[in-house]
Symmetry: C2
Subunit: 145 residues, 2 copies
């Protein structure tokens, strides 16, 4: 059997994540997971832990711990949602905003460079990836309801 799509996708992302992690740890003293969480809150307007879990593709308990850590490091502000309900309202602190702003496009550009170097058409691959994610999302949502 040859290496198949599921294995290749898994390994590609594992290696990209590790590369990103090393750069972030060395240059900015933050992990890639934490950086992604801050980016979703700061750039994509995610404002509850439940939404952050969905956006990151992880479970609520993972996010619960992550937000606690980010808050204790002074990067994220976690407050009861003033609109009520058992929710937290997530916002970046000034320090958190600085981190996100300084790294804003760094990884996307590095990845774009890799893609260009490989000869794979960026726009098409990005669209395929987004489509697959949306489809998976829909399928999972339908099977739960």
């Amino acid at each position: 059997m040859e290496r198949n799509l599921s294995l290749n996708l898994h390994v590609l992302v594992a290696r990209l994540d590790r590369a990103a992690d090393r750069i972030l740890r060395a240059e900015h003293n933050i992990s890639y997971s934490r950086f992604l969480a801050l980016t979703l809150v700061g750039e994509l307007g995610v404002s509850t832990q439940r939404a952050l879990a969905d956006g990151l593709g992880v479970t609520e308990p993972s996010v619960s711990r992550m937000t606690a850590v980010l808050a204790s490091e002074g990067l994220l502000d976690v407050q009861p949602d003033p609109a009520g309900g058992n929710r937290r309202r997530l916002t970046l602190t000034d320090q958190g905003k600085q981190v996100v702003a300084s790294l804003r496009q760094e990884f996307e550009e590095k990845l774009a460079a890799l893609v260009a170097h490989s000869g794979v058409p960026y726009a098409e691959f990005a669209e395929h990836t987004a489509t697959l994610l949306a489809t998976l999302d829909r399928v999972e949502r339908e099977s739960t309801k």
Copy 2:
């Protein structure tokens, strides 16, 4: 900022991995990581821990622990390489072979069904993924040497 390729790829794989893990745990009582390790040894002929780490996109310490666990569960045979050197020769036990054989194409087929359902052309996406992985591999190898 919109969701970008690096985030979408990361999240797509996180969700695929979790889905795979749940199926395997429920139906076969094994984690996806362990299953991938067994598959590489059994189907792709990987025979040392170092090669397994490369094949999985993880580090040697991760594999060292994984092989110990798989050996203790009776799925993998880990022996000093008779050809010498500080190496282990990895082979599947009969039980390990059974696991791999029974699951051989299950995930690839489920993923193929998802891809078909999404309308993304499978062959092209698979080729792009393989190309990106090969390119990343080359780039990393060059920067180390």
